[in-house]
């Protein structure tokens, strides 16, 4: 599973960067820069909590099929 942000929904709350700093940092305008790779299994629960915590409902966990 990969963590993806909907850039239209995202308004730069920054909660995701606090809850999942291993995968999310904020750019100079407050918008999330997300690690494009798959979420490591150890962070799976944290990732789900982060998705649920986004006030703008802008995050989701998606399977990327290649």
């Amino acid at each position: 599973m990969n963590l993806k942000v909907n850039p239209i929904a995202c308004t730069g709350h920054g909660v995701c960067a606090e809850l999942l700093p291993e995968l999310v940092t904020l750019d100079e305008w407050g918008y999330p820069v997300i690690d494009p790779g798959p979420v490591p299994p150890a962070l799976d629960r944290d990732a789900r909590r982060t998705v649920a915590a986004c006030p703008a409902l802008a995050l989701r966990l998606a399977r990327i099929y290649r």
Binding site: V15, L19, A53, P55
Partner: protein, 197 residues
């Protein structure tokens, strides 16, 4: 025994009003990306959520004790069906409407991940209808709140909500509409360059 139920209902009602006031103010704080001093951002969202669930608990006790109390007859269903109570039909009815709206908000929020964002937001905006109804219910049905320091408390809650709502509206009025945002940033940039020269 009876009196205990009655007092419990009144007390939990007051606490619920306080909690719901805090929930609404916190909700506006979340929306405005505000912070509570010394706390991380996720604390604001978590607190908003936790207090809303806590207020549900208090409302549940508030209703059950009111129903169990035998001094006046309040059917359980009148908690969700407006104006179904013989006692204080109007004020309890408003409370029932407020509760129905709150139930919609809570259910949609629990199912947030599965819902369309726009739908969730629309239901959540019902908060602005639910709180005034809650307030009217509280003041109208409780002699406690109509005098003394509890009246001040109630007015204080109303003032807090009014201030938060005004703050929210002011931001909405000030906000640059989408179509004008790029030129706002562009002119910001060119004036910055002018200054640095």
């Amino acid at each position: 025994m009876n009196n205990a139920f009655w007092y419990a209902s009144r007390a939990t009602g007051i606490v619920a009003l306080l909690l719901l006031t805090a929930v609404l103010v916190l909700g506006i704080l979340v929306n405005r990306q505000g912070r509570l001093p010394g706390l991380p951002r996720f604390a604001v969202t978590d607190l908003h959520r936790s207090l809303s669930l806590l207020s549900v608990a208090f409302i549940a006790v508030h209703i059950v004790t009111a129903v169990l109390d035998t001094y006046v007859h309040i059917p359980l269903l009148s908690a969700v069906i407006p104006f179904a109570s013989g006692y204080e039909r109007l004020w309890l009815g408003l409370g029932a409407i407020a509760l129905d709206l709150m139930a919609a908000m809570i259910v949609t929020s629990l199912l947030r991940g599965r819902l369309n964002r726009v739908v969730w937001k629309a239901v959540h905006l019902l908060a602005y209808a639910s709180w005034p109804l809650t307030f009217a219910h509280s003041l109208g049905s409780s002699k406690d709140l109509q005098q003394g320091w509890l009246l001040f408390l109630a007015i204080g809650c109303a003032a807090a909500v009014a201030a938060a709502a005004a703050f929210r509206l002011a931001h909405a009025a000030r906000q640059v509409p989408r179509a004008g945002r790029v030129s706002a940033i562009l002119s910001q940039q060119t004036s910055k360059q002018a200054v640095s020269r």
